[in-house]
């Protein structure tokens, strides 16, 4: 991502942003039925809070699998852009998935890492990301060269626009707050899956 070269920031330099606001900014830029996989907990609650879309999959369990699920969708539908929203604790649980994405090189995949350095939903216990583990550096070292921290909201939107128009895979790191989500996703996994498949045109 050339925006990255223009605005090189480390995790420490990146602005701490509002998770719900960033999610709304992402969703507002999706004009072509892009798929979004919301990871466990607040990541998918805020995705639902940003307004339900038929192309959203809200992952209610299976912590760490937002990126693999998004990779599966990206491999199945190469014409569609696919986003994974994954928390830092979740990504730490499944770091090997970054290497798999790097070897598969899906040009239509963008991973958004929402990093508050903590396991927020369980009480805010510190994650390794809160003690110096840099998930964007890990993504780069995994072979995902187009990985960068978003310096601020404007940089985030520029990076999303690149992920929507240029060849990926991309990884966008976002420092986020620890706010409670505004809404909770209805807990009906079979309906979520059915809606998503219809949203992707797989079921009529």
């Amino acid at each position: 991502m050339s925006a990255i070269q223009n605005q090189p920031v480390s995790r420490d330099q990146a602005k701490v942003m509002r998770r719900a606001d960033l999610t709304r900014r992402l969703v507002a830029r999706l004009k072509h039925e892009e798929a979004v996989i919301g990871g466990i907990g607040f990541s998918n609650f805020d995705l639902f809070g940003a307004g339900h879309r038929a192309q959203n999959f809200y992952m209610l369990g299976s912590m760490g699998l937002a990126v693999p699920i998004a990779l599966g969708v990206a491999l199945a539908q190469k014409q569609r852009r696919v986003f994974a929203l994954e928390g830092d604790g979740s990504l730490l649980m499944q770091l090997g998935a970054l290497g798999t994405v790097a070897t598969q090189r899906p040009t239509n995949l963008c991973i958004v890492v929402l990093d508050n350095g903590a396991y927020q939903i369980t009480g805010g216990q510190m994650a390794a990301s809160g003690a110096g583990t840099d998930l964007i550096a890990i993504a780069r070292a995994s072979g995902l060269a187009q990985s960068a921290w978003a310096a601020d909201e404007t940089a985030f939107e520029e990076m999303v626009d690149r992920a929507l128009t240029e060849d990926g895979p991309f990884v966008i790191g976002c420092r986020i707050d620890n706010a409670r989500p505004e809404k909770q996703t209805p807990r009906d996994p079979s309906r979520i899956r059915d809606d998503f498949m219809r949203g992707l045109g797989v079921k009529k």
């Binding site: 798929a35 996989i37 999959f57 992952m59 209610l60 369990g61 299976s62 760490g64 699998l65 990126v67 693999p68 699920i69 998004a70 990779l71 599966g72 969708v73 990206a74 491999l75 199945a76 539908q77 569609r80 499944q94 770091l95 090997g96 998935a97 290497g99 798999t100 070897t103 598969q104 996994p189 079979s190 979520i192 899956r193 059915d194 998503f196 498949m197 992707l200 045109g201 797989v202």
Partner: protein, 176 residues
């Protein structure tokens, strides 16, 4: 059932049955017994086969691919299945995603590794506790039928299923 002497090897029957059922994506964690099947799907451009770091990652990829309209078979060995109870219980079953798994069975009929022998005992109880369909393939002449019907039923009922390849079929791994 066909005459076993006239049949191709188990891995060729499995590969052909995958094709007949439009199973194209093969995410896997490697296994020595599965090698001829793994080499077969890599050599055939019908398939897209690749390694994953963990079995649950492979299951996530298969779940996403299914929802996007692409069928998968996840390959692993017995010890790998032992890492999957949570993802089957929290993703595949409640979301009604027919994730298909093929497990080469270790831990029985001449196992030399104590860890494999122990973890193998957890496999079928976990499958039964999840009420997940599973079949153990022991005979060459039944291989095509069991693989084909298990795939069809998983897809038709939107439920995950597992195919276990017994050492009786594959020869297993009798030496370290």
């Amino acid at each position: 059932m066909p005459d076993a002497a006239a049949l191709p090897p188990w891995h060729q029957i499995v590969l052909d049955t995958f094709k007949q059922n439009d199973i194209r994506l093969i995410p896997y964690v490697p296994d020595n017994v599965l090698r001829p099947l793994i080499e077969g799907v890599h050599a055939d451009p019908f398939f897209h086969a690749f390694t994953c770091a963990r079995e649950e990652e492979a299951l996530g990829i298969a779940a996403g691919a299914w929802m996007g309209g692409l069928r998968s078979m996840v390959l692993m060995q017995t010890s790998g299945f032992a890492t999957l109870a949570n993802v089957i219980a929290s993703l595949a079953v409640p979301a009604q995603i027919p994730v298909l798994m093929m497990v080469s069975e270790r831990g029985t009929l001449g196992e030399f590794n104590q860890g494999q022998a122990l973890v193998a005992r957890t496999m079928r109880p976990v499958m039964d506790a999840l009420a997940m369909e599973h079949h153990t393939i022991t005979r060459l002449d039944e291989t095509g039928f069991i693989v084909d019907r298990t795939i069809r039923q998983a897809v038709a009922t939107q439920a995950p299923a597992t195919l276990i390849l017994s050492p009786l079929l594959t020869g297993g791994k009798a030496q370290p």
